[in-house]
């Protein structure tokens, strides 16, 4: 059973012209942007720290590996205690969700930098900032960006899940209400719009990557 495409089109048009779509999209994007920026920044920093410092690794790695397996939804009751139900709580959820993939990918990328490159940096005792900017960053660009892309996806997913639990707006809420109200065309509109937004977001990450890895031959 499938909803006829023209009905999906009509619904999409109706949602768009009534301004409802815009309301949902902008609410979601706002939460996503804030959450993702926070989560991935902290994630990348943590990933680098765990890969570079043996003590940080010892301190965080076991907890990190445990906690990153746990669905964010499990933290919701805790988060509601500390954050406002409206926006900040969802932003925190997105941040947590995008933190883990970014941190893991960064950690692995930094760890996999060939020993020969690290040795040069050690030899010249590069200050941490230069080391990060001139060695770690370029050597890990593709992998870290892959991690960020996954983080974005997971943040997006969790946002939708959070919006399902608590929201008046947002694409997740729109889709969830579509499901509750058995309006599959609305769900499909959500699928199309989220896919499209994701595609555009992802495309910008890919373009960024191309810019940052010009040195690669072939």
């Amino acid at each position: 059973m499938l909803v006829p495409l023209e009905q999906v089109g009509a619904t999409l048009l109706a949602l768009a012209s009534s301004g409802e779509l815009e309301r949902h999209v902008s609410a979601s994007l706002y939460r996503l942007t804030c959450g993702f920026l926070t989560g991935s920044t902290i994630g990348v920093a943590t990933g680098v720290a765990m890969a570079l410092s043996r003590n940080v690794h010892r301190l965080l790695w076991p907890s990190f590996t445990c906690v990153r397996q746990v669905p964010v939804i499990a933290f919701i009751p805790l988060l509601i205690l500390f954050f406002d139900v409206e926006d900040s709580f969802k932003i925190v959820i997105v941040a947590i969700a995008s933190f883990f993939p970014s941190a893991l990918a960064t950690h692995d990328a930094v760890r996999d930098i060939p020993a020969s490159h690290r040795e040069v940096a050690r030899l010249y005792r590069l200050p941490l900032a230069s080391f990060l900017r001139r060695v770690i960053l370029p050597a890990t660009v593709p992998q870290v960006l892959t991690g960020l892309r996954l983080g974005l996806t997971r943040g997006w997913l969790s946002l939708v899940a959070a919006e399902l639990l608590a929201a008046d707006s947002g694409l997740g809420q729109m889709m969830e209400m579509g499901r509750q109200l058995f309006q599959i065309d609305v769900v499909l509109c959500g699928v199309i719009v989220t896919g499209l937004i994701g595609f555009l977001l992802d495309g910008s990450v890919v373009r960024l990557e191309r810019r940052l890895s010009r040195w690669r031959t072939a």
Binding site: M1, L52, S53, N55, R58, L59, L60, P62, S63, T65, C66, V67, R68, Q69, V70, P71, V72, I73, A74, P77, L78, I80, L81, F100, P101, L104, A105, D108, A109, R111, A115, P142, Q143, T146, G147, R149, L150, T153, R154, L157, V160, A161, L164, G172, M175, E176, G178, R179, I184, V187, G190, V191, T194, G195, G198, F199, L201, D202, G203, T217
Partner: protein, 256 residues
């Protein structure tokens, strides 16, 4: 402190701090106790759930689902990643589609999958596999695209067939990234397992248990489940790390 003890002590420091904070919070007020179940109560629930078999049963069910899906989604992800990493044509055609679909939350698929495939185990497996698929496909693609020209040239020199180039150059050089992908997928499939258990019709699984406990405001049970999910994920990761070290023994050991 002996040098041997130090790593273990450091590893435990963080959890210990969290636990301490937890206990303190749980004593703040009844409202806090609602979210921060006292440690002692969590412990008791843990013992109960362990002794009546709940925990093992539910965890087993989830584990089986997650791993099956990891196997399915992961291998398809690697296969497609390899294919798109190697063929520019495939990359141009398939990647945008994958990227677009990747952004649609499971929740979006849920009604459609339910309508098309029903609410059974198959549908659940499909969605979890999908979540394991994305990280592997992405990382594999990246790995395949990062093949160094220097090595590709050696393959050309010795007249490697496409298959040989794939097996002997592209695959091993992409392997570290593929491992990263699988390890991401491991977490994703765990999370998705819990997610679908929660959003689909009920079957055994930690997700179901967790949701039910949440509905019944049994924060202690939720936390036992959370801890169980975390620890199992950790254990899987460790196992996986051993495999990785074995397959990547050509890399010089990392000295910090």
């Amino acid at each position: 402190m002996t040098p041997r003890l130090k790593p273990a002590a450091l590893a435990l420091l963080f959890p210990a701090l969290v636990l301490g904070w937890w206990e303190w919070e749980s004593r703040q007020s009844a409202g806090h106790a609602y979210a921060f179940a006292p440690l002692e109560q969590i412990g008791r629930s843990f013992v109960d759930m362990l002794s009546d078999g709940t925990l093992l049963f539910q965890a087993g069910a989830s584990l089986q689902r997650a791993l099956t899906a990891l196997l399915i989604g992961g291998s398809i992800g690697i296969a497609i990643g390899v294919a798109t990493g190697l063929s520019r044509l495939l990359d141009r055609t398939a990647t945008p589609l994958i990227t677009t679909l990747r952004q649609v939350p499971i929740l979006g698929w849920l009604p459609l999958v339910a309508l098309w495939f029903g609410n059974g185990d198959g549908a659940k497996l499909l969605l979890v596999s999908l979540s394991a698929f994305y990280p592997t496909v992405l990382n594999t693609q990246k790995g395949m695209q990062a093949i160094e020209t220097r090595y590709a040239e050696v393959g050309r020199l010795y007249g490697f067939t496409r298959w040989q180039a794939l097996r002997l150059i592209a695959w091993p050089s992409a392997l570290p990234l593929i491992f990263t992908g699988i390890s991401q997928a491991l977490a994703f499939s765990w999370i998705a397992t819990i997610g679908v258990e929660l959003l689909f019709s009920a079957t055994a699984g930690l997700g179901t248990e967790m949701m039910a406990a949440q509905v019944a405001a049994r924060t202690d049970v939720v936390l036992v489940c959370v801890a169980c999910v975390g620890v199992m994920g950790f254990a899987l990761n460790q196992l996986f790390g051993l495999l990785r070290a074995r397959l990547l023994r050509w890399q010089p050991p990392i000295r910090n």
